[in-house]
């Protein structure tokens, strides 16, 4: 568990981060979203002490980070820097193995781990291992940067816009990979992004920052359905809110017995997928399947009701 306690950073009288407090449970992903210059990177860098806070404290599992030698603290925390920061004079393998080497792992174990990570990110080890960063595409460099952060299987990962340079398709895949890896390993991740869509998709919790302050800190559904301020509502995108909300609700929530025509959707899909399918093919309901076998249907009527339920609670004016 990470406890961030009234942490503040003042640069030349300006509060880059202003008394931020929050708690991130072990094994969850927290996404920090905000406009450029809102203090996201500074907040992240105070956790591994690349920036020393002006005041306040960070505790990892109850232990204050200020009590640990910074370089040892940092070896425990995976860090994927904004803009990858790969060592240009080291091969991909050596870049990924940097932290395990610092920790004194045996060579064979490092090599094995490097190949495992390259595989995980869809980069053929025999082809990429010996390359230098300059011979990679921007997206590949970024994936190697994330692989380097994951290499020593740290319990805590800090990621600063790790998917910024990826095209939408690779980006979605990388997000899924990250989510899968995180579930597998049970790691705790703090991820900075300026993309609300990404934050909602990945986060167990979304922290919205504005001008150094933490303005809302809640589960994605809550951020979308019940933004704490005008600013948060704008970040979510007013017009898109209903769709964003539907994308957070799995089909299994509205599953009802019965049949429907057309191609089935998997139970793991969300209401937004189902709505699209209905609109696009002029259907009133879509069949739902689990492992390929039909289990029921979701109707347009039910989707509309679900949206209305959330929309109605939202009728109260958003606080300014």
């Amino acid at each position: 568990m990470i406890e961030i306690d009234e942490i503040t950073k003042i640069y030349q009288g300006q509060r880059a981060v202003d008394a931020v407090s929050t708690t991130i449970e072990t094994g969850t992903i927290a996404c920090i979203v905000g406009t450029s210059g809102s203090g996201k990177t500074t907040l992240l860098r105070m956790i591994n002490r690349l920036v020393e806070p002006t005041s306040g404290e960070v505790r990892l599992n109850g232990e204050a980070t200020s009590a640990m030698p910074p370089h040892l603290l940092r070896r425990r925390i995976g860090y994927a820097i904004q803009g990858h920061g790969l060592f240009p004079h080291h091969t991909v393998a050596r870049n990924i193995g940097a932290v395990p080497r610092l920790l004194g792992w045996p060579k064979a174990k490092i090599a094995e781990r490097v190949d495992e990570l390259l595989d995980l990110f869809g980069m053929e080890p025999s082809q990429f291992r010996a390359r230098y960063p300059a011979a990679l595409s921007g997206g590949q460099q970024q994936r190697v940067g994330v692989a380097r952060a994951l290499a020593s299987r740290p319990d805590l990962l800090l990621m600063d816009e790790p998917f910024g340079a990826l095209d939408p398709i690779i980006r979605a895949r990388a997000q899924e990979d990250l989510r899968r890896i995180q579930r597998q390993l049970g790691s705790t991740i703090l991820l900075v992004t300026h993309d609300m869509e990404e934050a909602i998709r990945l986060g167990d919790k979304v922290c919205v920052m504005d001008g150094g302050k933490l303005v809302q800190d809640a589960a994605p559904t809550r951020i979308v359905a019940d933004p704490a301020s005008r600013f948060v509502a704008e970040m979510v995108g007013d017009a898109e809110r209903p769709l964003r909300l539907l994308s957070l609700i799995p089909l299994s929530d509205l599953l009802e017995p019965g049949e429907a025509p057309g191609d089935p959707l998997d139970e793991g899909a969300n209401l937004r997928d189902a709505l699209s399918a209905c609109l696009w093919t002029g259907r009133e309901a879509v069949p739902v399947s689990r492992d390929g076998a039909p289990v029921g249907r979701v109707t347009l009527e039910a989707i509309r009701a679900a949206a209305l339920r959330h929309g109605a609670t939202d009728d109260a004016p958003v606080p300014a």
Partner: protein, 245 residues
């Protein structure tokens, strides 16, 4: 590529022949020798003069590299930043002293021989290396430095594993410049009895024997060209961009 290799081989062979077997070139130099005078310098073996010349240059450059790089490392640390302007002016002064003046000042202290020449070459070699090392160490990509800190490297490790290797090509360019300057400057060491190829040139000047001057000049020139070329190759081999290709 093969043609480039050949182009390098010709001056190298020429140099070896000039140094080891100078007599063979007598017909070539004869027109420049005075009537009835000697054509080829034979007072000392050219090979031993060359080795001594190169030895002096190597020793002085090595010392200059060690001192200049160490100084550049120190003044690029946060704690040493205050000394940056001071160290710069000290090194600049070393450069503005004419080498002849350094020799003249050093002889009373160190006596005749190799000593004063080494001092002059050393002082002269500092500036290019120091300037380049400082540039190299202070213009590293910030995101790489941040990553090095962020993954938990200690200061020492960052210096050894990241900063120096990344700055190496720039530092080597300074070393190259400094070595080539030293190769030329070393010739005047002969005026204070250091054993260098300058001996041949000065003998030629004293006896009005252009053949000697040419011999000494061509040998020093060829050494400079070949060493410059060799160091350029080394530099390219060590630069990360090249590895990428």
């Amino acid at each position: 590529m093969r043609r480039r290799g050949l182009l390098r081989l010709i001056p190298a062979l020429l140099l070896v022949a000039l140094v080891v077997w100078p007599q063979a070139f007598a017909p070539l130099f004869a027109p420049f020798a005075p009537e009835g005078g000697p054509v080829i310098y034979t007072r000392t073996s050219l090979l031993s003069l060359s080795l001594s010349h190169l030895g002096l240059v190597a020793l002085a450059s090595l010392a200059a590299t060690l001192i200049a790089v160490t100084a550049a490392v120190l003044v690029t640390r946060p704690a040493g930043a205050a000394f940056r302007p001071l160290s710069r002016s000290v090194v600049n002064i070393g450069q503005t002293f004419p080498p002849v003046a350094v020799l003249a000042l050093a002889v009373p202290v160190l006596g005749f021989g190799a000593g004063p020449t080494l001092v002059a070459l050393f002082l002269y070699g500092l500036l290019p290396i120091f300037e380049n090392a400082m540039t190299g160490l202070s213009t590293l990509p910030p995101s790489v430095m941040e990553a090095a800190r962020g993954i938990g490297m200690t200061r020492w490790r960052r210096l050894w594993v990241v900063e120096l290797p990344l700055a190496l090509p720039v530092i080597l360019a300074g070393v190259r410049l400094s070595v080539v300057i030293a190769l030329g400057t070393a010739t005047i060491g002969s005026t204070v009895a250091a054993r260098t190829l300058g001996e041949v040139i000065i003998a030629g000047l004293l006896t009005n024997n252009t053949a000697f001057v040419l011999q000494g000049g061509v040998i020093v020139g060829l050494f400079a060209v070949l060493i410059y070329d060799g160091l350029t190759l080394l530099e390219r081999r060590l630069s990360p961009d090249r590895k990428a290709g």
